[in-house]
């Protein structure tokens, strides 16, 4: 019988703890990904079947054909993430430092919309932004929209929808990192003759960086692949890469192209994150997190 001495048993222990997670990743992440890679290199059609053929041209063809939707997705998701930050930062700041007894109630209000389905929330925006609705009529009255102008089925509506739907993903991480900040650091800064603005810039903002980083990723990544907002609030001129993948996969059953596009999307996001982490400074992030 094999007997392990206590030190090697201790060395094995982390792997035992990791085991369930690794199995999970293997079955539900690595295996499907390998399958997806396989499918993306197949050729054929749904009626006569697909076969593996190292067909890398699927990637270049797909990129050439759908580059517009790709860039559109990045831009929409980018703008929505920025808007989310501009909305959520003051909100999270207020909840963390000024809300007092109302803190928990306000946090609940931020997540409350999540108690209804994503689809229902987005469909509700169809009614709010409807051509004959109150919002559009008032905007026409004040001349923001022309007499025949509309909000629904425009880029504005799609970006607004994404911004709305992903806002809590930004607000919550921001709140968590702001809430952790020791207020005495700000006091110390002002004692040392820093203005409130300087204290904010030199103390609060850097300490909130992990939250900003997490919030941006949590917003941006799902937003790039989103197709519900473009589908319900937009037109074909607003379709994003998620719509293309959806239609290639479900409607046209062009599985290779759909898989290739998903891969490219994933790769693009990974590269984006790497650059972003570099710019923000992974070291800073780690320091701030400690």
């Amino acid at each position: 019988m094999l007997r392990l001495n206590s030190s090697s048993r201790r060395a094995l222990w982390p792997y035992v703890l990791l085991f369930p997670g690794l199995v999970w990743l293997l079955v539900f992440f690595v295996a499907p990904l390998a399958n997806q890679l396989n499918v993306s290199l197949q050729t054929g059609n749904v009626e006569s079947g697909f076969s593996f053929s190292w067909h890398f041209a699927t990637y270049t063809d797909a990129l050439k054909q759908f580059d517009t939707q790709f860039f559109r997705s990045l831009i929409y998701a980018g703008v929505a993430t920025l808007l989310d930050f501009l909305i959520a930062f003051p909100l999270a700041y207020f909840i963390a430092f000024k809300a007092g007894r109302l803190k928990n109630l306000m946090l609940l209000l931020v997540v409350l919309p999540f108690f209804t389905s994503y689809l229902v929330r987005t469909t509700a925006w169809q009614l709010i932004l409807s051509d004959n609705g109150w919002v559009v009529s008032r905007l026409r009255d004040v001349g923001v929209l022309g007499a025949n102008g509309r909000l629904l089925a425009t880029s504005t509506a799609v970006i607004a929808g994404i911004t709305y739907n992903f806002m809590p993903f930004m607000a919550l991480p921001l709140y968590v990192s702001l809430e952790k900040i020791d207020r005495r650091l700000v006091e110390a800064a002002t004692d040392l003759y820093a203005s409130r603005a300087t204290a904010f810039r030199r103390i609060t903002l850097p300490l909130a960086l992990p939250g900003i980083f997490a919030g941006t990723l949590l917003c941006f990544i799902p937003a790039v692949g989103d197709f519900i907002n473009a589908q319900l609030l937009g037109t074909p001129q607003q379709y994003m890469i998620g719509n293309v993948i959806q239609s290639q996969f479900i409607e046209l059953q062009n599985y290779p192209t759909a898989s290739a596009l998903s891969f490219v999307l994933m790769a693009a996001i990974l590269v984006g994150i790497a650059i972003y982490a570099r710019v923000l400074g992974a070291r800073n992030l780690m320091d701030a997190a400690v």
Partner: protein, 404 residues
């Protein structure tokens, strides 16, 4: 209705003999239109290349000697589209014939449903359903690939009530593998409050005054079909290049901002809310839309509309073909068909249903959306029959247009 001695038919035969492919199809269609059942039609079709497919001649089950013995009904499964039957019909079927029908509303889209069951079908395994209802082009795909079990006609005597216009589709000329469930028209719906002058033509969808207030169907068979009618092309015999040309017209209108969205069944919300003023619409939806909103009206365009039919079929290797046939026979009883038609508001394929409703529900019996006159009915055109490659090209091109 054409008679076999129609001089036009003679002309078509002449053209056909000189090798014109289009006239071959036209000939067959017209012949079918006369209700002339000829025994060797399937062979003739195969020879003409009317229903070509990769697997043609391959896995297709022989229809000649089908015998499904009478057995207890048992527990069996019927897959259909949502809200497509009066559920009372299912209850009375169970009561009358015993057993239990497991009725699942899991068909939301022909291609999506096909993707779901494709692997079992191709492996020649049962898909655990005894009836599926699929639209013409998908039904054609199933028949040509041998994914369907032929009927034992002796178990479906009521099939004699099938409307003459639907008896001989190109893809199943003798209705050995399929029986229509309901038909519907793709026509035009509009909002009277927004459009004062009653539209009459498919051209009205392209009227610049309605820019951004028009929706089209994302399904190329419907959208391109209507546009071809506008161009004076008969969609049921159209060839791929003509279809692609029609899609180009849609592309241009879309780029000009004329078309607000491409939709499936979800066009109804925009129309009811007044966001969209004029749209391609399915006849069955319009009955409901009109009931909910007095401003919604419809028009059968003067160029004609499209006619689609959802067809009941028994998937290959189904465990309960006799139960399936008994149900089909039951639904082809005019009294039962009348109940279904009054509930779903689509066009029933069963002759005699209107006569039943004349007594019980005259309002429904006289609604042209549910029981179009002979003249309106003949203005509706069947979808073209395409090979799988052609179909794929058409749908890919359409996806380019609808995908931005």
């Amino acid at each position: 209705m054409t008679s076999p001695t129609d001089p036009e038919l003679d002309r078509i035969v002449e053209r056909m003999l000189s090798g014109d492919e289009a006239s071959r199809r036209e000939f067959l269609r017209r012949l079918a239109g006369t209700g002339l059942a000829f025994s060797s039609s399937a062979a003739l079709l195969a020879a003409c290349g009317g229903v070509k497919g990769e697997n043609s001649g391959g896995g297709k089950l022989s229809a000649s000697s089908v015998h499904h013995p009478k057995v207890p009904i048992g527990d069996w499964t019927f897959s259909n589209w949502p809200l497509y039957i009066d559920k009372k019909v299912l209850k009375s079927f169970d009561k009358k014939f015993g057993g239990h029908v497991n009725y699942v509303e899991d068909i939301n889209d022909n291609f999506e449903f096909y993707a779901k069951v494709r692997q079992q079908l191709q492996a020649k395994k049962s898909i655990n359903r005894d009836i599926v209802a699929l639209t013409d082009y998908m039904a054609a795909r199933w028949v040509r690939n041998g994914y369907t079990e032929p009927f034992d006609q002796k178990n479906v005597p009521n099939a004699k009530n099938l409307n003459a216009a639907l008896r001989h589709p190109l893809w199943d000329p003798k209705r050995q593998y399929s029986l229509p469930w309901q038909s519907g028209g793709t026509i035009i719906g509009y909002n009277k409050a927004k459009i004062s002058k009653k539209p009459t033509s498919i051209k009205d969808l392209f009227n610049p005054a309605y820019k951004g207030r028009v929706t089209f169907f994302s399904e190329a068979y419907d959208s391109a079909g209507l546009v071809m009618l506008m161009q004076g092309v008969d969609p049921s015999t159209a060839k791929l290049p003509q279809i692609l040309k029609a899609i180009d017209v849609i592309d241009k209108a879309n780029k000009a901002g004329q078309i607000r969205r491409f939709t499936g069944n979800d066009y109804t919300t925009d129309l009811a809310k007044g966001n969209v003023w004029i749209t391609m619409a399915y006849s069955g939806d319009l009955v409901q839309l009109q009931a909910d909103n007095k401003n919604i009206d419809y028009v059968f365009p003067k160029e004609g509309g499209m006619l689609f039919t959802d067809n009941m079929m028994i998937p290959a290797k189904a465990a309960h073909p006799y139960a399936a046939e008994t149900m089909m026979n039951y639904c082809y009883d005019p009294a039962v068909a009348a109940k279904i038609a009054a509930f779903v508001n689509y066009i029933t394929p069963v002759d005699g249903a209107q006569a039943v409703l004349e007594k019980s529900d005259p309002k429904t019996a006289h609604n042209p959306l549910i029981f179009p006159s002979e003249q309106l009915r003949s203005s509706l055109h069947a979808y073209p029959t395409l090979t799988s490659t052609e179909e794929q090209q058409m749908r890919s091109r359409m996806a380019q247009v609808t995908g931005g």
